[in-house]
Assembly symmetry: C2
Homo-oligomer: 306 residues x 2
């Protein structure tokens, strides 16, 4: 223990310590002139745990209005399109109150209902969340409560028993990295190949060298060959192929930065999409990975339980 840790044990005279379930940084409650002051540390994980486990329950016990919150997660629409579809629900002062927030191409829709009882608040929130789902469509609402696209994909892999392997060029591992964030995914995710060089595309995935020469590495036929190649060599039920231009260099008028092809190969054949993405290099990598996950999820939702 270093002397700087000792300083973390100090709290102001008359304050009550708030337990920190995640670390050593201090938090405390001080009451002065009828006002309660809560001080929490700046490290987000420690602050959030402290708030959720000790401060929120304390505040909740004093409430005379009950609130119920539902969070839905939406992919494939821009925030302004979602805003138009939900405009009347999002009117200021409405109860439930509906708001949206965008973070890296994913729209979060928050439904907040207030009522005199917890049961009534729950009922109002559920009804509004159902209405939001109906308007945006099940294919765009992939989850709730901060859930990620890869978790929705993992749930569908679990349901169908399908296995998955991915071959990435421009996303550079972003897709495999997202998938492997899900605990237990090793039962369904067999492998990934980040085929950055053309040699890797040819030797690892069996993409014909002539196909790359004819169409260029960034093309629909190469994405399809990558998807079929990783599916065949890995033995997975589904293979994903991704190729594109993440930038900032490497673009041309015919094939600009942000041009991306995503292909998903399954038992019934291959589906390919051309994307025109915007943003910086890391944004394009991330949006490519999310679009690939979206396509896999849509394909899997159409698969009947084995």
């Amino acid at each position: 223990m270093t002397p700087s840790n000792l300083r973390q044990a100090l709290i102001p005279a008359g304050a009550e310590m708030i337990p920190n379930p995640r670390g050593t940084a201090p938090g405390f409650l001080l009451t002065r002139g009828g006002v309660e002051y809560y001080a929490m540390p700046g490290v987000p994980s420690e602050m959030k745990a402290m708030f959720q486990e000790h401060i929120a329950p304390r505040l909740r016990r004093r409430a005379d209005v009950h609130a119920a919150v539902r969070h839905l997660r939406v992919f494939g629409y821009g925030e302004s399109v979602v805003g138009e579809k939900l405009a009347d629900l999002m009117a200021r002062g409405a109860n439930p109150d509906v708001g949206t927030q965008v973070e890296q191409s994913i729209i979060g829709v928050r439904v907040l209902a207030r009522a005199a009882s917890a049961e009534e608040a729950d009922r109002l929130a559920d009804a509004a969340a159902d209405e939001v789902r109906r308007r945006l469509g099940q294919e765009h609402v992939f989850g709730r409560d901060g859930e990620q696209l890869e978790e929705a994909v993992a749930r569908e892999l679990e349901r169908t028993g399908y296995t998955l392997a991915v071959a990435e060029s421009c996303s550079g591992g972003a897709l495999a990295n997202r998938l492997t964030n899900v605990p237990g995914i090793s039962r369904f995710f067999l492998e990934g190949v980040v085929a950055y060089s053309n040699r890797s595309k040819v030797e690892r995935l069996g993409v014909p060298a002539g196909l790359i020469e004819q169409h260029g590495a960034v093309s629909a036929p190469v994405a399809e060959a990558m998807a079929r190649g990783i599916r065949g060599t890995s033995g997975a039920d589904l293979g994903v192929g991704v190729t594109g231009i993440a930038g900032p260099g490497g673009g041309s008028p015919a094939k600009p930065v942000g041009l991306v092809y995503v292909a998903v190969a399954g038992p019934a054949g291959v589906e390919t999409r051309e994307l025109r993405l915007t943003g910086q290099r890391e944004d394009i990598k991330d949006r490519t990975a999310k679009n690939a996950l979206h396509m896999v999820r849509l394909l899997l939702t159409g698969v009947k339980k084995p």
Copy 2:
């Protein structure tokens, strides 16, 4: 354009618009009672660009004290160890003022010098930054100004002309994903294999099946075989092999969650490290990738220019 975009064109009467170089969200300056109020949008990229390009220069022109800031980035020490090594420099009220901030295993050291002239502030800041580098050692100070470990690795790859390929198990693509965040890395980074299944380790990388049976997939010999395997099959100068237990499941008393082996194979042989990492699944993946980058960087800094 949706009606909600129109609302972004409104600013308060008497306010001066601040140009937004990155988007459509509004920002403005209002002066009341001799106080200047700057309002910026909440989207971080738009807010930061607005501040840096329009507000900061305006504030800087009025300054009568000049400041110079240096940011150093440190890997391989905990924050409290850095704090002890820099204790006297970090004393409250010192000029330059030295502070540290930790973010996902990387320690940022900030040196802030104040002086009557910009030149004097620069001189003070450079001297203090040099002293920090001397105390922490060049092997731990990998960069400056928000630079990432993968950028330091890319710089060394550029200097040496070496090429790189990576084979990942527990980091699941996090290492390839970081490397491919660097623009232009395709000249040096040939490919990655996310060998999640044992079959993938054997077939893609040539890891002997008997080695996995004898030592387990999470072991130093398997990490070494992965590093040698990806180096050989890709033709790269350096091959990295990573295997471990990212959790939350899969651990045992002998091989707990957070046990990770990283091997780097190069022309002179293989170096392997055993790591005991802490944190959630994503933290362990990220720390694994950073430790691998750190090892690659140390190896490359010892390579003479070709």
